[in-house]
């Protein structure tokens, strides 16, 4: 690469980085250019120092410490304006440099960035860790457990807890509108947020239209309304600036625990006392989420008891680990002992709430063996599942052994659709099958999110209906109405026919924490009811 080309290439890569758009491959390209070419290294240094110079020259306010080079003489002279500094103690130098930094700091690139439309950001920067009665407005409506990309989020009601990849944790109370800009930066358009920022995420920024709060290892809250922005510090310290990065009037820009600051639309600043710790602690908010989870779990336990009394329940797997029964998954209903599940490989883990367990299916051999006899003209299959990835062509939820007439295969395909497959009677000795599938449901947003799936088979009505989270997603007409039998089957995997040369891998990749099999066709209302009583 010619010297000019190298310069252009570096120029371009550095600009991309400043914009937050440097891709993996571009980063690698930068690495190899700099590693291999000494001339490129010099150009890089020139470009970066030029960038610094531009920043210093043009930044509003310039620097507190005027370099003596403002006159074209670069040798420091003791007799010049620095004489006044000589009398100052060394600690003041630290203070001076702190002031210099504060005055010098400009909003980082993310802070002044206009939020780009959703398609451009493929990388997530946070997880929606928990949601309590959350209702989202226009735009993205994330489910608890899903990954969050930079963008605007409108929380109309309820509270959510977001864990940023930087390790900062933020609680948001609706109604609030936030713009997540990176793992280290959030803009609060309006509403109320509470941030808990551990040492590892020091430097986390919450900004509003009037104020910029830079964390120094703290716990603080920021509130923004039409008329003012308020920040209160509960633990540690924060650094404050005006929204444009310039310093606040009055000198000291650090706010400590117990202190707060309010700014109105005219730009008037008022120091206030922060609310006492007890009235708004991090712990109390955390408890709220914990209590909610506990309530949900208790409600589930009660419901479970009701379910066991229903006459149409063929099998009910609660996926609760019991001491002394670690490799069993009893069905609690059927008088057939073979309906009890035998766990092979799948491991116990956490389910939807604390106290609720689940089985995790990960390895190709992981499965739960069951055997349920009886023919059913109508069947409802319902389960709470969490899909972690779609690695195989088919991910088995409940797959009967082999490929036998009238024995269903309930599964998720590699493109994320929920599918019920049934082998039809052979005609003219040829294998016939029918498959009823939804459009793609398990997309990237749904990975890691607890989802309620149910499929209703009705040979009398000649329909198959699929529901996700209580909502019908597809309805199909049966090609051939036949009663279904389960017989020997796997939960989370497939016992392939013996005559298959190679065992195809069909294991589920994720967690299951409840599975119900009914010999009736549930109504839409039943399904909604089931979903509502089991959601997080």
């Amino acid at each position: 690469m010619s010297s000019d080309d190298t310069l252009d290439k570096l120029n371009s890569l550095l600009l991309a980085h400043q914009e937050g758009r440097l891709s993996e491959s571009e980063a690698k390209e930068l690495y190899s250019i700099l590693k291999s070419d000494p001339a490129a290294r010099r150009r890089y240094a020139e470009l970066q120092v030029l960038e610094t110079a531009l920043h210093l020259e043009l930044m509003a306010g310039g620097t507190v410490i005027q370099s003596t080079a403002t006159q074209a003489d670069f040798k420091p002279s003791r007799t010049r304006q620095w004489k006044r500094w000589m009398a100052v103690s060394a600690m003041l130098a630290i203070v001076a440099s702190t002031l210099w930094i504060l005055k010098f700091s400009k909003p980082d690139d993310a802070g002044s960035l206009v939020i780009k439309d959703q398609e451009r950001h493929l990388e997530s920067v946070a997880i929606l860790a928990d949601a309590l009665n959350a209702e989202w407005g226009e735009g993205i409506k994330p489910a608890a457990g899903s990954e969050l990309a930079p963008g605007k989020y409108v929380l109309q009601k309820g509270s959510v807890m977001i864990d940023f990849h930087s390790s900062a944790r933020m609680y948001i109370e609706g109604p609030s509108v936030i713009q997540i800009q990176s793992a280290f930066c959030v803009h609060l358009d309006e509403g109320r947020v509470r941030a808990h920022v551990p040492e590892q995420a020091r430097g986390f920024v919450v900004s509003t239209d009037r104020l910029k709060v830079i964390d120094l290892g703290t716990e603080f809250s920021v509130q923004s309304t039409n008329s003012n922005s308020t920040v209160q510090v509960f633990r540690g310290d924060v650094q404050l600036q005006k929204a444009d990065g310039s310093p606040l009037p009055g000198g000291n820009q650090t706010l400590s625990a117990g202190k707060g600051l309010s700014v109105d639309t005219q730009g008037n600043f008022q120091h206030i006392e922060a609310l006492p710790l007890e009235s708004d602690t991090f712990d109390r908010i955390q408890k709220k989420f914990g209590q909610h989870a506990q309530q949900q779990f208790q409600a589930w336990q009660k419901r479970r008891a009701d379910w066991l009394k229903r006459p149409d329940v063929i099998a009910y797997y609660d996926f609760q680990k019991r001491d002394g029964q670690e490799n069993q998954l009893p069905d609690h209903v059927s008088s057939q002992s073979s309906a009890d599940g035998a766990i092979v490989g799948a491991e116990w883990t956490t389910g939807r709430w604390t106290g609720k367990t689940a089985l995790e299916f990960k390895r190709p051999g992981d499965r739960v063996r069951i055997n349920i006899s009886g023919r059913m003209d109508r069947m409802t299959l319902a389960a709470w599942i969490r899909v972690d990835s779609l690695d195989n062509r088919l991910q088995g939820l409940l797959l009967t052994d082999g490929y036998v007439e009238g024995r269903p295969h309930w599964q998720i395909t590699s493109d994320g659709s929920l599918r019920l497959g049934i082998r039809l009677p052979d005609l003219n000795g040829r294998l016939n099958s029918s498959g009823y599938g939804t459009p793609s449901l398990f997309t990237k947003d749904r990975m890691g999110v607890w989802t309620f799936v149910s499929t209703v088979y009705d040979s009398a009505e000649k329909t198959v209906k699929h529901y996700v989270d209580g909502v019908i997603v597809s309805e199909h007409t049966l090609v051939f109405d036949q009663p279904l039998t389960i017989g020997p089957a796997d939960i989370g995997n497939w016992g392939a026919p013996f005559d298959y040369q190679q065992q195809p891998i069909r294991n589920f990749n994720g967690r299951i924490d409840e599975l119900i099999i009914l010999n009736s066709a549930s109504t839409a209302e039943d399904i909604v009811d089931l979903y509502q009583s089991g959601k997080q």
Partner: protein, 175 residues
């Protein structure tokens, strides 16, 4: 050695070198907010180690060495975020960045001259970018031009400034 004199000299050197130390740090991190933080940490360490610096000894190389250490620590701590340079590159680039950073003030003088030579239009764009800290998207909106056009224009202006500044510094040095 007189302790007061030593301290006073330290203060003088530290304040005098702030911009250049900042240039060194920014060149490695490429992010102003992070560079500010690391500068603050560097200043603290320099003060803690004031006894390591002897009166009359070159201050900047010592400061750069401490700054490099802080940059490496910062890069290591923020490993989850994509850094501009990894520790390997930081070490490799250290000499070049140090050499160029120590010429920051000359660069600034040359730059002032070169900025006056920009067209009104280009000057406007540079101001939006550096004085107001606007992103490409934001500038495009403001100037009613496409993002691509803004990007191309910025790259061209930066390239021209680089050429002008390089030439100007050679002229300045000769005088």
């Amino acid at each position: 050695m007189d302790d007061t004199e030593h301290q006073q000299q330290f203060v003088l050197q530290l304040t005098e070198c702030q911009n250049r130390i900042y240039a060194y740090i920014f060149s490695m991190l490429g992010d102003h907010a992070r560079a500010s933080d690391v500068l603050q940490e560097t200043n603290l360490v320099l003060w803690q180690r004031v006894k390591d610096w002897s009166l009359g000894a070159p201050f900047l190389p010592w400061a750069f060495a401490i700054a490099r250490f802080q940059v490496l620590a910062n890069t290591r701590d923020r490993s989850r975020e994509r850094c501009l340079l990894d520790s390997d590159l930081i070490e490799t680039l250290s000499q070049d960045v140090a050499a160029e950073s120590s010429r920051l003030e000359e660069t600034r003088v040359a730059l002032r001259e070169c900025l006056t030579k920009l067209t009104e239009q280009n000057r406007g764009m540079i101001q939006l970018r550096y004085e107001h800290g606007k992103s490409i998207v934001s500038i495009a909106e403001k100037l009613q031009r496409s993002e691509e056009a803004v990007k191309v224009a910025l790259l061209r202006i930066r390239r021209n400034l680089h050429a002008c500044v390089t030439k100007q510094m050679t002229l300045d040095a000769a005088e």
